[in-house]
Symmetry: C3
Amino acid sequence: MDGNGTLSLVVFSGTDDKLQATAVLVAGAAAMGRPVNVFLQYWALDAFRIDRIRKDHGAAPEAGDEGLAAMQRHGGQHWADTLAQAKDIGEVAIHACALSVEMFGITKDDLDPLVDDIRGVAAFMADVDDAVAFI
Amino acid sequence: MDGNGTLSLVVFSGTDDKLQATAVLVAGAAAMGRPVNVFLQYWALDAFRIDRIRKDHGAAPEAGDEGLAAMQRHGGQHWADTLAQAKDIGEVAIHACALSVEMFGITKDDLDPLVDDIRGVAAFMADVDDAVAFI
Amino acid sequence: MDGNGTLSLVVFSGTDDKLQATAVLVAGAAAMGRPVNVFLQYWALDAFRIDRIRKDHGAAPEAGDEGLAAMQRHGGQHWADTLAQAKDIGEVAIHACALSVEMFGITKDDLDPLVDDIRGVAAFMADVDDAVAFI
């Protein structure tokens, strides 16, 4: 019972609702002094491309019109800004999955500077301590 | 290696298939004597509104017609009843995410009594021990 | 801080993108010497039926045409082959959720031999150590 261990997040989904939820969890963990280790795969990685990160990434189909309207009304800051703040206040590392980078045929330069580096899944797994979530 | 630590579940999705799966995991963990800490966000929180909890929340698009038919044929009890039983037999707390409550413009009174309270993400994170899953 | 504990994965989704991501995480954990415990539910279990495992299971709606094209161009081996290799090199157990087996009205013989056995959720939960993810 410590609650001080590293929180590892494998982020697979690239819709704005899940990326907002991710950013809030990362910021909450960083505020509590936990190191956070984020691993971007598939559609989440695609959303971190430097020319797309501020574009509209939609929401899960279940959001529906009413859910989308609530999200837009609520506004608040962009998830990329929440992540930037979390990196300022805590120990937050954001890695791009090497296999997904290869799948999209991109390089580190195509990604927003929020992404620290490209990493293989085995290297990421070696850093997974206890708490790991797939988003 | 204990398997006795708290299981924390961040529940984001609000379709009936994922809420059924959630309820079964919560009940299984409670039956094994593990404390369970549930944090409702976004579409999952919406599904716990007192006037919607028993309505049809659909399923993931991938279920398809055949999957939906299997779910309906199988029937079984509602996930809200499974959660109520889990709360009776074990140490299960269900929190509403303060940010999502604000996004929907609702209050504690709009939520089913299964929900114990409203909590900020940092307070939730402080209780996250080891095992945490995002659903 | 050990990184040697068992990684437990509850796999709910049955689209090829998430099953590929699952297989890569399982293989990465197995390569690092971690035991992996997989629990197949709902649409993921359906995808492991012996007569469907090699069929097209689609991708999450958010993939879009461009994402699907990137997946297909990238190719690589099938996720079932990646899982088979992970089982060869490491300690990987794949369980079918008893409730989902009942929901689909199938038996162990209807499932690909990659699946080791059928297990109830409480028995699975008893084996969950620290790291557990829901996919």
